[in-house]
Structure formats: C-alpha cells, structure tokens
C-alpha cells in the first residue's frame, strides 16, 4: 500500500481551503481504476462471475435482450443479433454523438432511443430494473476492452463543458470534483479510500446501495455529498460530465459489472 494511501485526510474543510496547492490532472500512466483501491474481499466479489451480484442483472438483461416488445413486436436480438458479437465494443464508445439530436447520448439514452424509435415501446425509466439490466448486459459485452472515446469537432464542446463542470467548485462545501479525485485520490474520506473516479465498471453493484446502479446515480450521490443540487437523470450536464470522465479514462478497461463499496 502506498504512503499516500496510508495518510489520513484530517478534515474536509482543510481540503476546501487549500485549493491553491492542487496537483492537477492525473498523468496517464498513474491512472488507476477504483478496483485497485478496494479491499481484497471486494475485489474477489467482482472477479468471480458466480459470486458477483451484478451478474444477476446481466442475466436478466440477457433475457430482456431476447424478449419481443413494443408495437412492432421486436426484440433487441432481432436487429442486433447475438449481443456477444453485436454489442462488443459498444459500451466502450459511449457516451456517443447522436446526429439527429446533435448532442451526445449515454448508453441508457441510446437504449431508450432504440426502444421508442425502433421497437415502438415505451422508454424505460432511469434506474428501473429493466433499464439497468439491459445496460449491464450491453456493457458486459465490452468487458476487458479499452474505453475508446476520442474528441472530435462535434463532441469537443460537450467534452469541454463536462471538463469545466469537473473543475468547477460547487455546492455548500464549495468543492470541485477534481479536488478529491485528481488531488487527493488514494487518501481517506470518512474511512473510505477516495478513488480517481473513472467510470470503468458501470452499471456498478455498489455495496452501499446493495443493488446495481447507474453512473448518474453515483454522480447524484457525489453531488449530494458536497451539498450541491444534484442534476436530474438524463440532464445534459450529466451526459457531458459522463463524456468527460469516460474520455479522461480512455484506454482503461471496462469492468462491467463492477463492484464498489
């Protein structure tokens, strides 16, 4: 365990006040998944497909993938075929730019776009069991693959917006995401180790939730934690931040379904 991890974070107010001494962006070579900061037991839970509670959602997603639905009576499989081939690499590229909406959409939104436009089925609610299961199933097909987000002329403005949000102080605690996740990762906050905040394992089985949850749910937890108004599910700010964080994690391997404390 590094010395950095052993050091205790004395009080959050000190972090909030000592903004001047920030270290800045994490160098590419020093990026580490939250997986590496977890205890041996929690890592074992993620590694074993027969013991990972997130796999229950993946199983369910597989069943939903094959189920005919909507006015068209079509299943995801009818267009996309076997997800193991058809969905391989997809989650690694999301959030992705949607030419019709002229903005990036995340995986949950893409699934709902398919449902409403192609299957003539109602959109699934955010954090609903079905949407989580389908998202987990699709993302699982990219497990082990490197996150593949590149900025281009279309996505750059949204990426910049997400980046600005990451570095902006907000909330009653007047904290920026970067202050914990760039400057103090590896140190402790109320008994937990602060991760670098790479969304490599979403949807993730969070032990605190005792259930699977989306990246947006986790982000809302963070915002509540710094006493900032959490963005609504599906808000453009959420997707922009997700885009930035996935770009920041480019090259790191997808771990879905991840397990995190």
């Amino acid at each position: 365990m590094s010395g950095r991890a052993r050091r205790l974070l004395v009080a959050l107010s000190i972090v909030a006040l000592a903004g001047a001494s920030f270290a800045g962006e994490i160098p590419q070579a020093e990026r580490r998944s939250g997986y590496e900061l977890m205890s041996r037991e929690t890592r074992a839970m993620q590694d074993d497909d027969t013991a990972n509670p997130g796999m229950l959602a993946v199983l369910e997603g597989g069943a939903l993938w094959a189920r005919k639905t909507g006015a068209g009576g079509r299943a995801c499989a009818d267009c996309h075929g076997d997800a193991r081939a058809g969905m391989k690499g997809v989650a690694a590229r999301y959030p992705a730019y949607d030419a019709t909406l002229k903005r990036p959409v995340n995986l949950e939104q893409r699934i709902n776009l398919c449902r409403t436009e192609r299957q003539q089925a109602p959109a699934l609610a955010y954090e609903s069991r079905e949407l989580l299961a389908l998202t987990a199933y699709v993302a699982r097909q990219s497990r082990g693959l490197p996150i593949d987000i590149t900025a281009d002329a279309r996505t750059q403005p949204f990426l910049d917006s997400g980046r600005a949000a990451f570095y902006r102080r907000q909330g009653q605690l007047n904290l920026a995401c970067s202050q914990c996740h760039d400057d103090h990762w590896g140190r402790r906050l109320a008994g937990n180790t602060i991760p670098q905040a790479h969304p490599t394992g979403y949807p993730v089985y969070r032990l605190e939730w005792q259930s699977l949850g989306s990246f947006q749910r986790r982000l809302r937890n963070c915002l509540v934690g710094i006493r900032a108004e959490p963005y609504e599910y599906g808000a453009p700010e959420m997707v922009e931040l997700e885009l930035f964080l996935m770009w920041r994690a480019r090259g790191m391997a997808i771990e879905t379904p991840g397990v995190r404390p």
Partner: protein, 106 residues
C-alpha cells in the same frame, strides 16, 4: 421477478466433495429501516434456503435480516449419484423460488 445464479459442477467423481454457490436477487428489507417521513419499512426477507439432492435434504440455511441483500451462499455436498439438485428459497410475502441443477456422477 427474482432471478438466481447457481454454480454446481456438471460432473463429479463418486464420493467427491463438490462446492455449490447460490446467489438470488432479493432486497432483504430488514424491517428496521425508516422512510424519510419516519414510517418503519416493513420486513421483507428470504427466511429459508433448502437444497435437496434427488429428494434428500443436504443443506438448509435459516436467514435473518442480517443476511445481505441478494443472498449468497457457498456450501458443499458429497457427490453420491447422478441426478438433480433442487434449490428452494422461501420468505416473507409468499416469496418462493425453485431452481434445479443437474449433476452427473461417475
């Protein structure tokens, strides 16, 4: 709609001790939590997991609210003969799920 993940080896030698893993989705609501308005959220848990091997009970777990959501158990049984392992979970509010797994014993 609960779903379950069972891990049993497909085949084993007679007399071999085989490891069985079970994972089932269930919130295991303890009955001790309160909503934001202060009302107690009623208990809703799985109370029992029974595993039978060709009809004979070989393992039983009696659960209380301290078992984590999505209950997970690893236990073992001696591979005596080919046949079916049956897993039945029962609990509050009429919860009842049965799953089976086949095993071939040489």
């Amino acid at each position: 709609m609960a779903n379950a993940l069972i891990n049993v080896p497909d085949r084993a030698r007679r007399g071999e001790i085989v490891e069985i893993k079970t994972l089932i989705s269930h919130p295991m609501e303890t009955g001790y939590r309160r909503s934001q308005l202060g009302a107690r959220i009623p208990r809703d848990i799985i109370r029992l997991l029974v595993c039978t091997y060709n009809g004979t009970e070989v393992f039983r777990a009696e659960l209380h609210p301290a078992i984590t959501a999505n209950p997970f158990f690893v236990f073992s049984t001696v591979a005596t003969e080919s046949g079916t392992l049956t897993f039945q979970w029962t609990g509050d509010n009429g919860f009842s799920v049965t799953e089976t797994a086949a095993i071939t014993v040489d």
